[in-house]
């Protein structure tokens, strides 16, 4: 059996962790904000370094899976070929990142969001049932709580906690996330909630008689002051609608534009646009949209149109 000393140590550890849970359950800043900040800066710094080392590996995942079938050929590769391959993968990785940054800049330019670029350095494990990631920008870069996080495809989530040089981002697919959404090209608004599955969101229409159909795009409605969500950001595409018009619970399933399993370069919106960009940020604006198709430099007619519609004040 256990010695007396072992039993004492065990009881101390059990009591300590239970106390921590109870203290943290009380919410608010609590006694853990400084501990979190300390671990955040230490672990964040190391994770930033580690992410640079592993990024060719995580980026090469897709390349790898396509190569598995050709194992016979791979065996024939000489050491030089392997070296060339790894150089190619890291070059492809660099190009992919450059493209992602490009797309992000395009979204930021069209919608006139002021963004700070960052990179995802760590992801919470799936068995926590939370969809949260850590990024390598923090309060020193000007980040604050509840800022919108985007990439070149659209909305990713919002900043939950900020540390010195890292921040926690909660993704839109997290079950505790809910975003005010609007059907592009119409005034139908609703709430987009995460389901915990990476490729589906739930869009609850506020107006039970509202018109929504498969293929419609959903953009953010925008919160007051652009926090936590800046207006006009693409969220996803409606793939399924349950319930008929007039029914109390009309819920649409929305497939997010972003692939949350392959996040790398992201942008944090530090300043939302002065005017709601409406639907101009959508990748290929549907024909139903009254505004003209987005151009790299918005024409004056589009400016007038966006200025004519009052920006929603609350989300």
């Amino acid at each position: 059996m256990l010695s007396r000393r072992a039993r004492i140590i065990l009881s101390i550890l059990v009591v300590a962790s239970l106390t921590f849970v109870i203290l943290d359950l009380r919410g608010g800043d609590g006694p853990f904000s400084s501990a979190r900040a300390a671990v955040g800066s230490i672990l964040g710094g190391i994770q930033r370094g580690a992410a640079t080392i592993v990024s060719p590996i995580t980026g090469a995942g897709e390349w790898w899976s396509t190569q598995v079938g050709q194992s016979g050929q791979i065996r024939e590769l000489t050491a030089e070929n392997e070296r060339l391959n790894s150089a190619l993968v890291s070059a492809e990785n660099d190009i992919a990142r450059a493209n992602q940054l490009d797309a992000l800049l395009k979204v930021a330019g069209v919608g006139r969001y002021r963004v700070i670029p960052a990179e995802v350095i760590a992801v919470g494990p799936a068995q926590d049932f939370a969809w949260t990631v850590a990024i390598d920008a923090g309060s020193l870069d000007g980040l604050e709580d509840d800022m919108t996080v985007i990439n070149g495809d659209g909305l990713i989530g919002r900043v939950l906690k900020v540390f010195d040089s890292t921040a926690t981002v909660v993704l839109i697919v997290d079950p505790e996330s809910s975003v005010g959404g609007r059907v592009a090209g119409s005034q139908e608004i609703g709430i987009v909630s995460g389901t915990g599955r990476q490729n589906s969101l739930e869009f609850q229409l506020l107006d039970p008689l509202g018109q929504v159909a498969s293929g419609d795009a959903v953009v953010t409605f925008g919160s007051k002051g652009g926090r936590p969500y800046a207006p006009g950001l693409p969220i996803g595409e409606v793939v399924d609608v349950t319930g008929t018009a007039g029914e109390l619970s009309r819920v649409a399933t929305v497939k997010p534009f972003v692939d949350v399993s392959e996040l790398s370069v992201v942008g944090v919106v530090v300043k939302p646009p002065r005017e709601d960009p409406r639907d101009s940020v959508l990748p290929n604006a549907p024909s139903a949209i009254p505004t003209p198709a987005p151009t790299p430099t918005p024409s004056s007619s589009q400016e007038k149109e966006t200025a004519a519609t009052p920006a929603p004040s609350d989300g």
Partner: protein
């Protein structure tokens, strides 16, 4: 607990947390994230004993809870991993240290960690757990845990051997 043993456990836990959060959780593997942290905790418990396993589990859980990539309550992972580390070390019969037995216990432990998180989170009033997904997460966690432990249990046993002989001499 000797200082060198503490350093060894601390280094293993730190590396495991780092690998899990920066590499394994980003690979986009279906189901659960391969839980290298639980496997290391269990391997430490096998190599050094239940008390060390419990301490390692507590430390690993606190580190995971405080990490900037997660949003769990501080202490939830700590209590789950603490129990797992203790149980794994306590359960293993010292006379029966065959690898398949240890792999089986490690697989059960990773499953218990995933299932335990779901239960604790729900009991504490969290709304994140989707119970339809829990069986699949638990099963995949056990599978990945078994695969990881094939490598990690012998590795930790090997690395811990000098510590143990030193302890028995002193």
């Amino acid at each position: 607990m000797a200082i060198r043993e503490g350093l060894f456990i601390g280094t293993c836990i730190f590396l495991a947390v780092l690998i899990e959060l920066t590499l394994l959780s980003r690979l986009g593997i279906p189901g659960a994230t391969p839980d290298i942290v639980v496997v290391i905790v269990v391997a430490i418990a096998f190599a050094t004993g239940p008390l060390q396993g419990a301490t390692a589990g507590f430390a690993a859980g606190i580190l995971l809870d405080l990490s900037p990539s997660s949003d769990t309550l501080v202490g939830v992972n700590a209590i789950i991993y603490l129990i797992i580390g203790f149980a794994a070390g306590f359960w293993l019969d010292p006379r029966d240290r065959r690898l398949p037995v240890m792999i089986g216990i490690a697989a059960l432990s990773t499953a218990a960690a995933a299932f335990g998180t779901a239960i604790v989170d729900t009991v504490l009033g969290g709304e994140r757990v989707n119970w339809a997904e829990v069986p699949w997460i638990t099963l995949s966690a056990a599978l990945y845990g078994a695969l990881l432990s094939v490598l990690i249990i012998p590795l930790i046993a090997r690395l811990a051997r000098p510590l143990l002989t030193e302890m028995s001499v002193s």
